[in-house]
């Protein structure tokens, strides 16, 4: 779709866009940008064997930002009539009163404008799909799970999808547009055995149309939801303490997101808060390790044709061969650091100003095989299923919750474990990675990062051995 489609969608003209940024800069701001959004979100919920609730939701508006040096003024309007947009522009312009030590560096003027880069090519528009077909997806997934595991007592499954039309314009005259689909399916299953209940979940999420849903995917999800339930029923809490941890390929990428990724986000660097501040070019881990934040993985939940400042999606090496090579920048931090933006300026919606955020964060494959990494541990733990994580930026202390794993005893996986928290320090954990597997796997679950605002992300990692982490336990 060309830019005229988006201009019509938001009922504005280019001269009006110029007038808005002109008003936004009228108090002396250096730079202004506009972020128009029209999102439709739909969901269907299967519960108690029926898809008996669902709905759709519409969100529409424009966010107006003014920068003065590295200071931000922000306001938004939920309609795109000129009167309301101009009022928002005037509210955002107040920031021009702020004093700042950062000269107007142009904020990266010159990124190629336009529509689309093709990281999420059209794959069946959700709005073209009949509701009955989406309902059948959930019914099919449920029947696969009941057929596969007789101890199933409850299945809750949600299919949700959204289509966002985004138009960005800035005071450099760059007009950028993007159509962003997102489809997600999450299933949670309760199992019962001898009066005891356990639960498991599985999810998939892609920046994609309905073509993402295939029989193979549903089968894979059903298998994932029921596999390991025997172990879950007999799993125990391990004895806690510091020990080697082998992190299984895929979802263990949460380690990178929490322990390292957030500390590489350049707003924390600009404010001097990050534990990795001032370490560009320094060796921070073994030279076998390269860590990437990537907005270019096709149909990935973190894919961005453009970020939310109109900067093209990119693949950014944060750590290359053990050397800290780049932080994750938006336009402000990039200007402050005198480097180009890495395309990490993201936001939850038009209601929020963009800040540096991760996309798909993963570690590249190494050379070790999974079995040899496990075999190298005399006494430790293997973990492969996670939920929420958290980090303290200044200290670098991170934590994440392990839903399932195994004890490692004399190089072998033995007793299953569950419901434990792992805690460590980012720079130390990175330095303590002593083995990197050859089996990189991107986890395509419904990962959402909650740094002030919620944005979709994904993560991945090959099997890795961390020499020493604190594991909660009895």
């Amino acid at each position: 779709m060309d830019t005229s489609y988006f201009l019509n969608r938001f009922q504005v003209t280019v001269p009006q866009l110029e007038q808005l940024v002109g008003t936004a800069l009228s108090q002396g701001g250096d730079y202004s940008d506009l972020y128009f959004e029209h999102t439709t979100y739909n969901d269907l919920l299967l519960k108690d064997n029926e898809v008996s609730s669902g709905g759709f939701h519409i969100d529409y508006g424009v966010g107006i930002r003014v920068l003065k040096g590295d200071r931000t003024g922000y306001a938004y309007s939920e309609n795109t009539g000129m009167k309301d947009m101009l009022q928002a522009a005037r509210a955002a312009s107040q920031i021009a009163q702020a004093s700042t030590c950062l000269e107007n560096t142009g904020y990266g003027k010159g990124y190629p404008a336009g529509t689309g880069h093709g990281f999420y090519p059209e794959y069946g528009r959700w709005s073209d799909r009949k509701p009955e077909e989406s309902i059948q997806v959930l019914k099919k997934l449920e029947s696969l799970i009941y057929a596969r595991e007789k101890r199933t007592v409850k299945v809750i499954a949600r299919l949700s999808w959204s289509e966002s039309e985004i138009m960005m314009y800035n005071s450099a005259g760059e007009l950028t547009c993007d159509s962003r689909p997102m489809g997600s399916i999450v299933v949670s299953v309760i199992f019962s055995e001898n009066g005891k209940n356990e639960n498991k979940t599985s999810s998939r999420s892609f920046r994609s149309g309905y073509g993402m849903i295939t029989d193979a995917m549903l089968l894979e999800m059903a298998e994932e939801a029921v596999s390991g339930i025997d172990e879950r029923f007999r799993a125990v809490r391990p004895k806690g303490g510091r020990m080697p941890v082998v992190m299984g390929a895929g979802a263990s990428g949460i380690l990178l997101h929490e322990a390292m990724g957030h500390s590489f986000e350049a707003d924390f660097i600009r404010k001097g808060q990050s534990v990795f501040s001032g370490m560009i070019g320094k060796k921070i881990c073994d030279s076998s390790i390269s860590i990437v934040d990537d907005g270019t993985l096709e149909h990935n939940r973190g894919a961005c044709n453009f970020d939310d400042e109109g900067v093209p999606g990119q693949k950014t090496y944060m750590v290359r061969d053990g050397i800290l090579s780049s932080y994750l920048h938006d336009r402000i931090s990039a200007s402050w650091s005198g480097v180009p933006s890495t395309g990490n300026g993201r936001r939850e919606s038009f209601r929020f100003n963009p800040i540096p955020r991760m996309r798909a964060t993963y570690m590249e494959s190494g050379t070790a095989d999974r079995e040899s990494l496990i075999a190298s541990v005399k006494k430790g733990i293997y973990v492969d299923e996670f939920s929420n994580g958290q980090v303290k930026i200044g200290e670098g202390d991170f934590t994440f919750y392990v839903k399932s794993g195994f004890l490692i005893e004399n190089g072998r996986l033995t007793e299953p474990v569950k419901d434990i928290n792992i805690i460590g320090n980012g720079p130390q954990a990175l330095a303590d990675i002593t083995g990197v597997g050859n089996d990189l796997k991107i986890d395509n679950g419904t990962w959402t990062c909650g740094k002030d605002q919620s944005v979709p992300v994904s993560c991945g990692i090959p099997t890795v051995l961390v020499r020493n982490l604190t594991v909660g336990g009895e």
């Binding site: 709905g55 519409i58 003024g73 702020a98 409850k154 209940n197 510091r242």
Partner: protein
């Protein structure tokens, strides 16, 4: 449909009538019952970085939520495009979408006898401060600036402040709910808040951060000028953490974070979780499950206090009610749908302003009547004083939990050193059976009134 009289507040008479128009439109398109919730809010923030204005934001939100019951089916819909013509189309499409779903005969509006009758102006609970309307942007900026201690604070030798982020914000939330059975309810509240986060660096280059905040429905109730100082003290107190061995210890949980341990109880008392077999408190109603020292009551209708509300999201009138008394579960949170589905007595959708009452297992309270963290540590002797949770989770089905914690070791009632990289592990039912003491120091600014708590025999890994 009868038109509404004019009122003051963010929501205008015309907008209220627009909400009622949605009910009419849905009924015209074939819905049997409809509830509409119209929300408007404004939020202004002034953020300071290192003593200078860093960020100014102005937010103004509005949205309509429709809960549509048609052909014994149910769906929820929302939009922020509030023009009458687009709402007509939106509502028609919503009713059509509901008809695609499976029948669910338990979906109904609450009986009118259960809904609130006295929430007319939205200000009945006294949560709106007229001072909001008189505040100029310059004054808001001034309040953010007065929090800053950048360049003024005195730090211990060798310690320097790396960054100071302060923020002043204020907001108005105005919500009008109506349904096709005649319910009309409005809730309006203001909020004023300040917060500060300070990062410091010690001579070895190690960083520590501290955070503090305050909020109030009234401008005059805001504790101003203290956040940055408190945040700095908190950062400094963490310098030079020492390793601490794991084991089973007393745990004192500070009032600023103790609600983290109460939250899983409320989730598990929700009938939706119980019906889905995903609650560790299934079958607990009327039974003594926890320590006799645990009593939590919901004071939903307390005028002028954060969290108070006259009606829940269904419009059902709240009431002050016992949730847990002396360890015995007294209430499940059961909405209309769950009541019809399970045959249980309907209550309300979730907790409003829970208050955890003071308790001491030995029956003694300090002579001065104050039971805070210092007094509780003194009584406990030794253990770990938890001042923050770092991630973790509670399995809703089993009640097993594991949380990262930060805080201090204490001995003979006095703090000895900060600890970090520690994890607590256990089960919620066991934990709350090990309750030794609950203070009376809950922060006035919080919706959940949970004081400092003390538990014994908590498993710490380090």
């Amino acid at each position: 449909m009868k038109k509404e009289k004019n009122t003051t507040g963010l929501i205008s008479k015309e907008e209220k009538n627009l909400a009622l128009f949605c009910i009419d439109a849905a009924l015209r398109h074939g819905a049997e019952q409809v509830r509409v919730s119209l929300s408007k809010s404004t939020l202004d923030t002034f953020g300071m970085l290192n003593g200078e204005l860093d960020k100014v934001t102005h937010s103004a939100d509005r949205s309509v939520f429709l809960y549509i019951f048609a052909d014994r089916r149910y769906g929820t819909f929302s939009t922020n495009m509030l023009e009458e013509a687009s709402l007509e189309q939106f509502t028609a499409k919503a009713v059509d979408a509901v008809r695609m779903l499976a029948e669910d005969r338990h979906r109904k509006l609450p009986e009118p006898i259960r809904t609130e009758k006295d929430a007319v102006t939205g200000r009945e609970l006294g949560l709106y401060d007229d001072a909001y309307e008189d505040l100029a942007p310059e004054e808001k900026y001034g309040m953010a600036a007065e929090e800053c201690i950048w360049g003024k604070a005195v730090c211990p030798e060798g310690i320097r402040i790396i960054s100071e982020e302060c923020e002043y914000s204020d907001s108005v939330d105005d919500n009008f709910v109506a349904d096709s059975s005649g319910f009309r309810g409005r809730h309006t509240e203001t909020s004023f808040a300040i917060c500060s986060e300070i990062t410091i660096e010690d001579p070895s280059g190690r960083k520590y951060s501290g955070y503090w905040w305050d909020s109030s429905p009234y401008l005059a109730g805001l504790q101003r000028g203290k956040c940055s100082g408190t945040a700095l003290d908190k950062a400094i107190s963490q310098i030079s953490p020492q390793s601490h061995e794991g084991g089973s210890f007393n745990m004192v949980v500070d009032r600023s974070v103790s609600s983290r341990l109460v939250s899983p109880l409320f989730s598990a008392l929700n009938t939706a979780s119980i019906q889905q077999e995903s609650s560790f408190l299934k079958g607990s109603l009327g039974k003594r499950i926890f320590s006799e020292g645990l009593t939590i009551t919901d004071l939903a209708r307390t005028c002028g206090k954060p969290g108070a509300r006259l009606f829940d999201t269904e419009g059902v009138a709240t009431r002050n009610m016992d949730i847990i008394v002396a360890g015995t579960v007294k209430t499940y949170f059961t909405n209309t749908y769950m009541a019809l589905k399970t045959g249980m007595e309907p209550t309300v959708e979730g907790v409003s302003r829970p208050v955890l009452l003071p308790y001491s297992r030995d029956g003694r309270l300090p002579e001065d009547g104050i039971s805070d963290a210092a007094k509780i540590m003194e009584a406990a002797g030794s253990g770990i004083y938890v001042t923050g949770f770092n991630g973790g989770n509670c399995n809703s089905t089993t009640g097993n939990f594991s949380y990262g914690i930060e805080g201090f070791a204490f001995r003979d009632g006095k703090i000895t050193h900060p600890v970090r990289e520690m994890v607590i592990t256990g089960n919620m039912i066991s934990l709350w059976n090990n309750l030794v003491c609950a203070g009376n120091d809950a922060r006035a600014c919080t919706r959940w009134q949970i004081p400092t708590l003390c538990f014994e025999n908590v498993d710490f890994s380090a």
